[in-house]
């Protein structure tokens, strides 16, 4: 009780620095070691990862509405903040679920939490580069656009690189096993999306059926 009420700002700030900056930087330098640390030494923190997820969601919104006019054709008037944020969230959750379900079938030893943390830490450089992109898009002109493209390519390469290493580390896979796991994850993703779409379309059919019946009743009896 007493512990919860006493909030130590200095301590909190230190933990933010540790989890938000130091550990990710360490991860970027020594990814194999860092990801096995996550798995075996209980390093890394889930709250930090969830914060990253929120930051990513926020960034996606900011990028849609505040990217410099030269580098965007998206009319903010037509954008939906909640859908944009949900997009990021759904992407992440789907990816993790797909990978987790594949890993369960193929003796991967990573837990869902670990997969989620890998997904978030892998996007750490992307997060910063995306923010950089957002800022630079207000400063650069169309002629200097290659710089931004380079920035974004770097971000994507980062995701793939760290994501793959993280995957291999937390599941204890070899290289080819890792590749196979990625392929199967994609297949699982497709299946999950297909099932969801099917459910949605069937649901809408059901709704329209009920509506039609209702309309018939109204027209017939009232």
């Amino acid at each position: 009780m007493q512990k919860a009420s006493s909030f130590d700002l200095k301590k909190w700030w230190k933990s933010v620095l540790d989890e938000g900056i130091r550990f990710p930087l360490y991860m970027m330098g020594k990814p194999f070691k860092a990801f096995s640390d996550i798995k075996y030494e209980n390093k890394g923190s889930l709250p930090a990862c969830i914060t990253f997820l929120f930051i990513l969601m926020l960034l996606s919104v900011l990028c849609q509405s505040y990217t410099g006019a030269i580098f965007t054709k998206i009319d903010p008037r037509y954008m939906n903040i909640w859908m944009t944020m949900a997009g990021v969230l759904i992407q992440t959750v789907l990816l993790c679920v797909a990978n987790w379900s594949v890993s369960v079938l193929t003796n991967g030893s990573g837990s869902f939490k670990e997969i989620f943390m890998v997904a978030m830490y892998a996007q750490y450089p992307y997060m910063w580069l995306r923010a950089l992109y957002l800022v630079l898009s207000h400063v650069l002109s169309l002629e200097e656009a290659p710089l931004l493209n380079f920035c974004m390519s770097l971000a994507i390469i980062g995701i793939v690189f760290y994501g793959f290493i993280g995957l291999v580390s937390v599941h204890g896979y070899g290289f080819f096993q890792g590749i196979a796991s990625v392929i199967f994850t994609v297949i699982a993703l497709v299946i999950i999306i297909f099932v969801i779409l099917m459910l949605v379309s069937m649901g809408s059919e059901l709704v329209s059926f009920v509506q039609t019946v209702g309309r018939e009743i109204v027209l017939h009896y009232f």
Partner: protein, 486 residues
């Protein structure tokens, strides 16, 4: 009690239905919009209003306006092709001449029957295509027959020769569209010798199609549609000798073509990367679905052209950079809407539009509103190279329609060239014209840096010095010899 339940049920059900009721959008009536972006059409002011609808009773000396097919305007005269005659009217619709019978080249009497396309040269020579009789008639300015040209020499056809549209260039070469000829437009010399196919369209077949055709059996193949190149539906020639043509096809990406002397399509994309094609946003299901079906085209002296979409009976006007300027017309019975429009023509300098409707047997004269007139004037001035004055008219148009992308574009670019980079940015940003916006942005950025860089450097230097001095003072105090304590 029963009644209450009934009432309750009714409320519930109507509520449900109201929730699910689809939004109905009225499709009838005149369509006035501009296409601004991929996000859809924006409302625009009315561009053309009906001045008068002429039926045969409104024109003295004309019995009927049956089977209208085509019109042509030259030297303040309107030439109208009806079923049995070519009517020549002045701009007040006074009948000047009726060409219904003529003396054939062999001296026998003949009459006009179902003419399709007509063309009149500067000198007043009248060309008439009669597809049913497989010939092209050429009359002099007094409507005496000069030539009766049958199938051009050197043209080898397996189908009947049915010329439907004709234009003539300044060297009297004839360009003829004939039905069932898929190779392109016929280029025919002035003495009726076939020269070549002009504006030949190539068909592109996807590898997947090709594969399925390869493995298909003979029977299956006979059931498939033939892979034919597209057929031209209409054309018109500009004063500089370029041929504007339309293709009624849903499969080609560029149904409006601007053909140079070589027969190449030189129609530009607009700055948004859109090909002129009539409607950009259309439904794929339901009534009047699918892309526009273009069947008639007319151009004016300053590079504007308008096309007639017979699917939704709309008329689209573009400038020479393929920007859509305005859309008008629509399906319906009221004035200003059309049932079966067959031909559209500009009425010379007045920019009025003539629309011939074959079902209602009428010719509608439409007058540009202030909005359209401003745009016309602006485009004209731009074509003449007077951008500064054009901007004035663009501003007028913009005042009437804030969705007017073309106006914002023109004003923004002009402001850029004038050196008002901030103003240019404001207009260009609005329409996502990134290339010019970027150029303007570079300039404002430069100005910004010029203005604030020296001050920034000074402030930075002062800050660094201050920090250093402070540190020095602090360390002196800490490691000092006791003076501070004292």
């Amino acid at each position: 009690m029963r009644k209450k339940i009934k009432k309750y049920l009714l409320c519930l059900l109507t509520g449900l239905m109201a929730l699910a009721a689809p939004l109905t959008v009225s499709a009838e009536g005149t369509s006035n919009y501009t296409v601004t972006s991929v996000y859809g059409n924006k409302k625009a002011p009315v561009a053309y209003e009906v001045e008068k609808v002429y039926h045969s009773t409104d024109i003295e000396g004309v019995d009927n306006l049956d089977s209208l097919t085509s019109m042509f305007v030259r030297n303040d005269l309107i030439y109208v092709a009806t079923g049995q005659a070519i009517l020549v009217l002045d701009f007040d619709f006074n009948l000047k001449h009726v060409l219904s019978s003529y003396k054939d080249v062999n001296g026998s009497d003949a009459s006009i029957s179902n003419p399709a396309g007509i063309y009149v040269t500067e000198e007043g020579t009248l060309y008439v295509c009669e597809p049913d009789k497989s010939h092209v008639l050429i009359f002099d300015r007094d409507y005496n027959l000069l030539q009766n040209y049958g199938m051009p020499e050197g043209l080898d056809l397996s189908v009947a020769y049915k010329p439907t549209q004709i234009v003539v260039d300044s060297l009297d070469r004839m360009y003829i569209i004939a039905t069932n000829i898929y190779e392109g437009i016929l280029e025919v010399s002035s003495d009726n010798k076939f020269q070549r196919y002009f504006g030949t369209t190539t068909i592109s077949v996807s590898p997947i199609d090709l594969f399925f055709r390869m493995i298909a059996s003979e029977e299956q193949r006979s059931g498939q549609s033939l892979l034919l190149p597209t057929e031209y539906t209409s054309m018109t020639i500009s004063d500089r000798g370029f041929i504007y043509s339309t293709i009624r096809s849903t499969e080609v990406e560029n149904p409006i073509r601007l053909l140079n002397v070589n027969g190449d399509d030189i129609m530009p994309e607009n700055w948004q990367g859109m090909e002129p094609q009539g409607d950009v946003n259309y439904t794929l299901v339901g009534e009047a679905a699918g892309p526009s079906s273009l069947s008639y085209i007319d151009c004016n002296d300053y590079g504007m052209y308008m096309v007639l979409d017979v699917l939704r009976n709309r008329i689209f006007t573009y400038d020479q950079s393929s920007n859509i300027l305005f859309v008008f017309g629509g399906s319906g019975d009221k004035d200003g809407c059309f049932r079966t429009p067959v031909s559209v023509r500009w009425m010379g300098e007045s920019n009025k539009v003539l629309v011939a409707d074959s079902l209602s047997r009428s010719i509608t004269v439409m007058r540009p509103t202030n909005y359209a007139a401003a745009i016309f004037e602006a485009v004209k001035l731009e074509a003449e190279g007077d951008r500064e004055s054009a901007v004035e008219y663009w501003r007028q148009a913009l005042a009437m329609n804030n969705n007017c992308t073309v106006a914002k574009d023109a004003i923004g670019r002009e402001l850029y060239w004038e050196g008002d980079y901030k103003g240019a940015e404001r207009y260009l940003k609005d329409i996502y014209r990134t290339d010019y916006y970027s150029m303007a942005f570079e300039k404002t950025r430069e100005e910004f840096i010029r203005a604030y860089a020296p001050a920034g450097v000074v402030i930075l230097a002062v800050l660094i010095v201050a920090v250093k001095v402070l540190r020095r003072v602090r360390s002196n105090r800490k490691g000092g010899n006791g003076y501070a304590k004292g």
